[in-house]
Symmetry: C2
Subunit: 476 residues, 2 copies
């Protein structure tokens, strides 16, 4: 029996509880229960599923302080951040609850018989048992009862969660809330299964099992791709929605920001540094013109980043990886390397910023890759040709931001077009972090930002990841 | 330079024209043009794309008799079938043309700014250049300007067609119509590229090229899976929609058909035999009760099938494969093997039917696999337990049909539930062939019926296979 502990970044020590990874037999049993529960749960009314989601919010509210204690001690995230993420998690549950009551019926399409043609009624249908992998950086909103689980439960899928090993305690507390809600509504407990592992064994067993019909994942490109590969090699391949890496480019156009340097420099510094930059939409690449005002902005942005508060990172392994990637970046252009100085607590992420010109940027492909943590790269460009050359070379991204003024920038439309080819969301004169939970939100993007650019991970439309259609012909 | 000819099943001889497979350089050029054309075409208005689709219908109407001559001489399909498929192809084009005018805007979602939250506008966006592989059995409706190409062009994708080698002449004629329509609307010819190959070289080059962003395919499980595997191993994996094999089970419940044996026996015999059963929805498995009336139905169905007209098969290779699979089936249960006797033209498909009991059916897994051609398997079941055991063992299917009466059959709901787990469409008291082109139609199903059960290949909703979303934040 393998055992492991979660880690408290604030105390720089392991938390006392020892967790055991689920055994092969436990996983097998969970799959069996999940499959069985799917058969009945997928036939429940949208109203009942709506009630379930609301009941889960009540259970979460009741357990809130316990969850908070685990959340903070297992992630190093602050109580303030807990409040934000808790509120968001509740909002996601109530959004889907409302969707089931008000919009589920609209997913149905009916065409009456006419002449010799039969009547058709197309209905949405849960795809099957769904595996949700907890994510490291959102112990609530993208984990046990995060966006993927809520969308899958709303669709009528049974859910098997593989808890993220960095916050198993939080995950177990949340899991208990879900199980309690199921019991109160007299629903099978098999609808929600919770498994634990600090390695890849449990996940591999789950992904390759014929009973699992879809996977939801938020994390690294390496992790997401490994899941995609396992899923596509199955006898019956299954859809994987993986929201993976993104460097989230920010373009300062040649004109349009000059009067607002004092506004944008601290705004973007916060977007880079808050919660140690551990967000999928953290802006990591800044294209800034080489000009008097551009240089002023660059200087201000660097200052603001370096002076920003340092936040705890989620786990020593994440901090180690951050330091490793920083060293790699530093070695590429050491002369323009700027890092926060002074004494920090052991687990606080030491923010850094690197400035390169376009030639250097284009010479080193890894410079455009995501660094998970409070780091950003500034690419100083001479002219719009250089800028557009860089944008054309970018890989898929969750977001791209533009700072400027469409009326003053002759390149505005072209830059929008170039970004549009690469990203899932374009932000004008604003920061990419703080993803609004809404049906007009698109959270996803061309590979490797996500595994399938046709779907979103945020908003109730994310339910389509876990729904298929079934047409009933001649049934009326 | 490899050269090959198409084959005329009616004359049992090759057609005179010799076609050359596209070279590596030609494919490369097509990809380059397609990529370039995508950049402008993806920005065109839905109105312009709607006009393009209508213009294509006009060009097809003008070239109709030439297309018809190629179509019949390259497929062995009749002039009557040509008319049906041509009409369907035109209907698909006009449906999407209407969709672009009336429904495209509804794909957009807008949420205004409120409090501290930004405004969001989510817009559909063409996924990129799409590869469409022509299918053997629908030279028009699922090939060069078939469902996949029309959906992709409507979405704003440039399209690269790899013509099916069995009907290259038809494909070239249709391709000319599309190019002519593009010219008349002053659109880049690169929007539509037409390539030829009688092997897998061109397809492999296309699928593995980074510029191709999605694939549409209709054909065998083996072919579809090969494409899925190539696509999922790319550096940037891409979505593949493959509509593949299906045995299309038909369940006669214990009660409810007895008065209509004379109606159902010839109806299903036609569905098995028409156009030599070369349809993805041809019913291939019949579950019929062992009872006086069930046996009467079995006898009648066998008679009707054996006495049915024999149709030409599409190509000697398809006929060879059909004969091979028939021999395999015959060897499994030779004593109940019934095949049409007498002299047929060389390329006419000789229909056959095999009757087994449930024990035999469950003992040989290959009995549930599709046989492409005029063949069906009758599984005589003793009771509803046997029936349900069989249904639970089935793989993914495009369709499942039920003959019976919900008010008279205690098992009705359970059989619907069992089929619902396996199929994309359930037909009550009707045949699965003749797929109505409509938005309430679902043409697809769990693997291996299709590569992704969340999408349909028929109806304007099939456009979602080739669309992603892009959200504009703060743009108003």
């Amino acid at each position: 029996m393998r055992g492991f502990q979660t880690f408290n970044p604030q105390l720089n020590d392991f938390n006392p509880i020892k967790y055991c990874s689920s055994t092969y037999e436990e996983v097998e049993l969970a799959l069996e229960k999940s499959q069985k529960a799917f058969l009945s749960y997928s036939k429940t009314s949208p109203t009942l599923r709506s009630e379930l989601l609301l009941q889960i919010t009540q259970e979460l509210e009741t357990a809130k302080s316990t969850i908070e204690a685990f959340y903070c001690s297992e992630s190093g995230l602050s109580n303030a951040r807990f409040e934000i993420e808790f509120t968001r998690t509740i909002f996601q549950l109530t959004s889907f609850s409302d969707f089931l009551l008000n919009n589920w019926k609209q997913l149905e399409t009916y065409t009456p018989a006419s002449q010799n043609l039969p009547s058709l009624r197309k209905k949405p249908r849960a795809i099957g048992p769904v595996l949700v992998m907890g994510s490291s950086n959102f112990p609530l909103a993208y984990s046990t009862i995060g966006g993927d689980s809520v969308a899958a439960l709303a669709a009528g899928c049974s859910v098997v969660v593989k808890a993220h090993p960095m916050h198993v305690g939080t995950s177990l507390e949340v899991s208990n809330c879900i199980l309690s809600a199921l019991r109160k509504l007299n629903l099978e407990e098999g609808i929600f299964q919770h498994l634990i592992d600090d390695g890849f064994q449990v996940a591999t067993q789950l992904i390759t099992d014929a009973r699992i019909q879809a996977v939801g994942f938020t994390g690294s490109i390496r992790g997401g791709r490994a899941i995609m590969d396992l899923a596509s090699k199955r006898k019956s391949p299954i859809p994987v929605f993986a929201e993976m890496g993104s460097a989230n480019p920010v373009v300062f156009l040649e004109n349009g920001y000059e009067e607002k340097i004092n506004h944008f420099a601290p705004l973007f510094a916060g977007s880079i540094c808050n919660d140690a930059g551990q967000f999928c939409t953290k802006p990591g690449l800044f294209f800034i013109p080489k000009s008097e005002k551009g240089n002023e902005l660059t200087t201000r942005l660097i200052e603001e980043v370096i002076e920003y508060t340092s936040f705890y990172m989620l786990h020593p392994s994440i901090q180690n990886n951050f330091e490793l990637l920083k060293k790699e970046r530093e070695s590429l252009a050491a002369n323009s390397w700027i890092e926060k100085k002074g004494k920090l607590k052991p687990l606080q992420g030491r923010q850094a910023i690197l400035q390169v010109d376009v030639k250097e940027f284009l010479a080193h492909n890894q410079l455009q890759e995501e660094v998970f943590g409070p780091f950003a790269l500034i690419i100083s460009y001479e002219n719009s040709v250089e800028l557009k050359t860089c944008l054309a070379k970018l890989g898929g991204q969750l977001t791209g931001s533009i700072v400027g003024d469409s009326s003053k920038s002759p390149d505005f439309d072209e830059v929008v077009d170039l970004l549009a080819l690469k990203v899932g969301r374009i932000i004008l004169n604003g920061i990419p972090t703080g993803v609004r939970v809404d049906d007009a939100m698109n959270h996803g993007g061309p590979y490797p930002a996500s595994s399938d650019s046709r779907f979103t991970a945020v908003g109730t439309q994310s339910i389509t990841r876990f729904l298929r259609n079934l047409t009933f012909q001649n049934f009326d």
